[in-house]
Symmetry: C2
Subunit: 396 residues, 2 copies
Amino acid sequence: MKRSFGLAFALFVCTFTFAQQALWGGTSIVSPEIHENNTVTFRLKAPKAVKVQVTGDFLPTQKIKTPFGDFDGPGAADLIEKDGTWEYTTPQPLKPELYSYTFLVDGLKMNDPNNVYMIRDVVSVTNVFIIGGGRADLYKVNKVPHGTVSRVWYNSPTLGMDRRLTVYTPAGYETSGKNYPVFYLLHGMGGDEEAWIALGRTAQILDNLIAQGKAKPMIVVMTNGNASQEAAPGESSLGFVSPNMQLPKTMEGSFEMAFPDVVKFIDKNYRTIKRKQARAIAGLSMGGFHSMHISKQFPDMFNYVGLFSAAIMPDNNVKSPVYADLEGKLKAQFAQNPALYWIAIGKTDFLYKANEDFRKLMDDKGYKYMYYETDEGHIWKNWRIYLTEFSPLLFK
Amino acid sequence: MKRSFGLAFALFVCTFTFAQQALWGGTSIVSPEIHENNTVTFRLKAPKAVKVQVTGDFLPTQKIKTPFGDFDGPGAADLIEKDGTWEYTTPQPLKPELYSYTFLVDGLKMNDPNNVYMIRDVVSVTNVFIIGGGRADLYKVNKVPHGTVSRVWYNSPTLGMDRRLTVYTPAGYETSGKNYPVFYLLHGMGGDEEAWIALGRTAQILDNLIAQGKAKPMIVVMTNGNASQEAAPGESSLGFVSPNMQLPKTMEGSFEMAFPDVVKFIDKNYRTIKRKQARAIAGLSMGGFHSMHISKQFPDMFNYVGLFSAAIMPDNNVKSPVYADLEGKLKAQFAQNPALYWIAIGKTDFLYKANEDFRKLMDDKGYKYMYYETDEGHIWKNWRIYLTEFSPLLFK
């Protein structure tokens, strides 16, 4: 009788694994396979398919025609079939980076069933992989002390809602007894409090930079910048709704006006250094727009400001006290000499001109800022770069 | 000029959304659509497909033949094509539950591109949806105060490793100043510290039970029970490795012997009630095995023990001091009258007989326990039920 327990369990494990594979489509195929020279092979078992392609940001971009004009999108490459398994190997080694991809099977998009690593970006879920080396090693989990990542709910009296935050506290926070500076990090349009921790790799980047002594230990607070929303899709009482790129109350002043609620909550519930010198705010795209407006609306709050591919829109046709008197408020903000005002954008970003105009305004007024320019455009690759460049400049 | 900013951005939003949909396969199709009467329609746009099926645990099970014997697996249903879009509506309303499904397109498994909600279970990622009502309302995010969910790293001196935990602290923890009881909740084979918070819906279940006054506010600690592993797949320095059902050092004593490291870390870093009366341990399958062995190995540590479909294996052919003298250790454990020893299993579970034999042993010795039996077998549906039944019994 004793024997049968172990035997039953061993059989269960085998059966379970086999059945999971049979039912849910897992196979023994390896995809993506990253070779030693950093070429990558993608594989898909699809005996009945006529055409299989892989599309992703590791391929040269291609022009996508849309009703709104051309768009630089990820390219596609054909897989070749042999015995029912399709395969494509990149002709060249890939540069270090976190890449996204999906398959196109007879025109139908599908995620790679042999790669469980997927990240949602607004309305789409794609597979991901990392080619290590250089800056991309900062995007990896390495053998360094790890901070804590928490999903926390706070009450916003100004918005009259309970809302969700993602909070990174650095390794050692729990036991050090010390107080820490706080970096508020804001997502772009369609994003939420999951964006920076997922595609942004914030926890990995901060763990690694802090371990290398390049960034100060700090708390990073990732807010939800959609003032109509309690939490990321699936995390509120709305249930498993479809994510939406265009939400109400995103760039009309509500989020900015309610931002002190977040700072108060963080200062009350974490061991923070509760003064301007120990606070930074930055964001990508819409989050850059928010960071610009919040930092000038509350000029005593932040000493470090980062605009990452910021959606700078002097005239956004919204009447809110937040957007009134841009120049007067900038003047008040810069009269206090912020320690850092950092502007970054990619050369092909559709917001390049808007940022150039904003820099001209800054130059005209003699406001000091640092400028960082990269190749390419309005993409996560750039935002991860900006985070790795900006965070070492903070709280020094 | 001013005009162009807003226009460029509006165009970007449209183009971005359109391009994302075109490139990554999102469409305006709604799937799954949960109708008011709780029938559900699944849809997939696949003009070139010959046969499209949906498979999932909302369908009657079917026998799957494997080299290891037959296996009760999810059934499959055919979708019908019209104008390139395939559709299937359940003939009957579905009962309240969290369900998993995927599509099979010409035999190829694929996730639903119109449903961003997916959860990994060991080696497979499937889409999920919830039919509300009854017990399943506990699995939803509702308008109640929400606890905090943290991913925390601790050092295990016994294992000589930094390891990852998922910790739930109840709503109000941050500000109450109170000390809380702790419930240690353990996953099954192939699982990790993400299992209970993902498919287990622990945060939602505890938020809801606590808000209803049915469970005491408590801290829930979800460990990683694979003693060879620092963290869940993708969360350690191993990188984006393929998950594996069969890991080394899972049921050979290492995890059990090192468990006091976890308790010490939690007691040091959280406001806990640091005594046996305020500690519970439970787990599913392998986690039930672990809970049984840990609670008798350290009889002064836990006052509440839950075995959920426990992998009880009196002879698992492993020589570890943990597994020696089962009866002697149970005697010592029950000599101290634990407040609750709770055994639950499904009628068709392959471990039913093993649990029956274990209960006979308990009965023979006169050890008190509660027994809870459900329909069906070794599935998450049952483990969520057990969590909703067990946690209200704790710390009363």
